[in-house]
């Protein structure tokens, strides 16, 4: 069975939304917001973790505040269609690459989000590690200068 959707009821969705707003909330806090017992919240979260609906809990950092410089760029990699999967897999192994997706437009593209300390390191990484990969035809890179929103897709209650 491929990509079979799990059945979630209204309470599951409310719990997910509460976690997406603040994953550090306790079961008791979520339970009191939703007027259900903390044990119910625990059971529901446990089940959704086991089913892989909740993939992981992560932390959004403000890197500037800890003195870490970072630039982010969106890289579009044009590939030989026969090598596209290999290129995407190999991109996924670099620590500098944060996300990798494929896209179908007129040509098969790989879109990747890349991070580096500065423009020079970004360029060196692309020139030395990405351009030489077999099947890479050309690369377009846009450096992100200002971010207006960053959020995962929110479930609706």
């Amino acid at each position: 069975m491929k990509n079979q959707a799990m059945v979630l009821d209204g309470l599951d969705l409310k719990i997910l939304q509460a976690l997406q707003e603040n994953a550090k909330q306790t079961y008791t806090e979520i339970g009191s917001q939703l007027s259900v017992a903390h044990s119910t919240v625990y059971d529901r979260i446990k089940r959704m973790e086991e089913q892989g609906i909740i993939k992981k809990y992560t932390t959004l950092l403000d890197l500037e505040k800890v003195g870490m410089k970072q630039i982010t760029a969106i890289m579009t990699v044009f590939t030989d269609p026969k090598e596209s999967d290999n290129v995407a897999m190999r991109l996924s192994h670099f620590k500098e690459v944060l996300e990798v997706s494929t896209s179908l437009s007129e040509e098969l593209l790989i879109i990747a989000k890349v991070a580096a300390e500065d423009q020079e390191r970004l360029h060196s990484f692309i020139a030395q590690s990405i351009a030489p990969l077999p099947g890479v035809l050309r690369i377009r890179t846009s450096i992100i200068t200002k971010k207006y929103k960053e959020q995962g897709f929110l479930v609706e209650k």
Partner: protein
């Protein structure tokens, strides 16, 4: 045993090729794995790429560190002071690299 000329004229592995970019992270799809191929690509590649790499010092770095040709690196470095752009940059760079290539080729046959 490799002579200095044959060493400079060798084909280097793909990971040590020169990759032509037009700006930070924007790869044209053109690369060169030898001085002979580099000379050909200088004729063909988008001139923006030549401008981008010349003034960053990328060409002389590749000539010096990868091809191990200090003489070519020095000749390319000397182009900086001419403040060339566009086709005049292409012509001068082509002249410099092709002349060096022909000299090395003739040394091979001596």
């Amino acid at each position: 045993m490799m002579t200095p000329a044959s060493r400079i004229l060798r084909t280097v592995p793909r990971e040590n090729a020169f990759y032509f970019f037009t700006s930070i992270g924007n790869y044209t799809g053109e690369s060169a794995t030898s001085l002979e191929e580099f000379v050909k690509k200088v004729k063909e590649v988008n001139v923006k790429s030549l401008e981008f790499h010349l003034y960053r010092g990328d060409f002389e770095k590749w000539a010096s560190q990868t091809l191990e040709d200090k003489d070519l690196a020095e000749k390319i470095r000397n182009l900086h002071s001419l403040n060339l752009a566009g086709d005049s940059l292409r012509d001068q760079l082509y002249f410099t690299a092709s002349k060096r290539y022909e000299k090395l080729r003739s040394e091979l046959h001596e």
